[in-house]
Amino acid sequence: MHSLTKTISAFALLIMTATTHAETVQIAVAANFTAPMKELAVAFEAETGHRVEAAFGSSGKFYAQIKNGAPFAMLLAADAATPAKLDEEGLAAPGTRFTYAIGSLVLWSADPKRVTDGAKVLSRNDFRKLAIANPTLAPYGAAAVEVMQALGLEQMLEPKLVKGDNIAQTYQFVSTGNAELGFVALSQVAKNGQIREGSGWIVPAELYTPIRQDAVTLKSGADNPAAQAFADYLKGEKAHTIIEAYGYRF
């Protein structure tokens, strides 16, 4: 019994010392930002000793969860509207909203030979399905609709559309070849400014409203030093280099 008490106290001491040095921050992250976030988390943890626990999903789902008491300290949304809404409803720490990245849209195919001449692949009409993210839910989906309208191809493409619940699922439809083409986030298919695999057309920015992705610290994270540190880190040059490599702008 005595040795058990000792062991428990030793563990308690260990845990206490660990927590005094470093905090853990739970962050809800938009699905399109998955790849850069993983890299940012590693770099941030190495630099500060804090720990990051990231959950990836859609902004709409995170909104519902946060509203119902989810313990996230921060939200890195896929849009500007969700953080604004949380702010208005008093669920965010005031004055903590900022744009951490501006997303880029790419028309992408898993087939390396398909997208070779930009938007012409759409009007050629030699494909079965075009995947987009659900435009009422995902900003990348709304941007894709704007692009199709700007190109005057909306009506022609409408019967070929399949909609992913979020941008990650949209990517899955295209990468498995079930949809030959899809509008996805450049961050999903690019590394160091280059498209990693398949073929793609980076949609010119003037064809759609900029996809401004905002971050916000939530009420529950207002006193968490790790949340503050991560917000600062996101604004810094090191983070920007990583984020830019995935095709985001500022």
Binding site: L137, Q172, N178
Partner: protein
């Protein structure tokens, strides 16, 4: 408020999918259940386990493998393309096939249990009265195992109505084709349209309750599946 046209369309589609799946499953599941109930083969274990897999696997696993298998490079996709049907993901028939896999144990197991409970005796008696195998099946097994078939049909139907993860992964959210009630509810919630979500979600709770109530009232002796 009430249901929107899109909601009604989703409800109609869901009922169509569930009915079709139930009919197909009774046709496919009955011989499987019969075989599982009566075979002395050592394949009984493995086959039973494969049928029961959807009970245990997360729908995402099933959905993911179906997406890959039905895709242009997958085995099922190769077959459907060779037959000139094209690819199955994002189509109503793709969902039907997925639902048959997904709801299989809910149909096979009640029928199997009912046939096992009958034992050999009624069939032997029927055989001594010169009833042929088909005759024995339709005039002896089906009436005696009726509670099992009823449970199978109700559970198969209800479970297909409740399908979500698989549909999300292979459906592509096409109105009138693959946008089922469960997906429609999810979209309402995601779009923060909670009032509309409550209408559909509340109806689903009511539906599920009524189905189970019907099951327990009509079939008080066989509650388990």
């Amino acid at each position: 408020m009430g249901f929107s046209d899109a909601d009604l369309q989703a409800i109609g589609l869901t009922l169509r999918l569930a009915s079709l799946t139930t009919v197909l499953l009774l046709l496919i599941g009955t011989p499987i259940a019969w075989w599982l109930a009566r075979t002395p083969s050592h394949w009984k274990g493995p086959v039973g386990a494969v049928v029961a897999l959807p009970l245990v696997l997360p729908p995402t696993v099933l959905g993911f493998y179906l997406l890959v298998a039905m895709g242009p490079n997958g085995p099922l996709g190769q077959v459907t393309q060779a037959l000139g049907i094209g690819l199955l993901p994002f189509t109503f028939w793709g969902l039907v096939i997925a639902s048959v896999f997904y709801s299989m144990p809910f149909v096979v197991q009640p029928i199997q249990n009912a046939i096992e409970a009958l034992g050999d005796r009624p069939l032997e008696v029927a055989a001594t009265l010169r009833a042929g195998p088909w005759d024995r099946f339709f005039t002896v097994v089906v009436p005696l195992a009726r509670p099992g078939f009823l449970t199978a049909a109700i559970l198969g139907f209800a479970h297909t109505v409740g399908e979500f993860g698989v549909v999300l992964m292979i459906g592509g959210n096409i109105p009138g084709e693959t946008r089922l009630v469960s997906v429609q509810i999810y979209d309402h919630v995601e779009a923060m349209d909670y009032a509309q979500a409550h209408w559909l979600a509340g109806s689903m709770v009511l539906f599920a309750f009524l189905v189970l109530l019907a099951l327990y009232t009509l079939n008080p002796t066989q509650r388990r599946f």
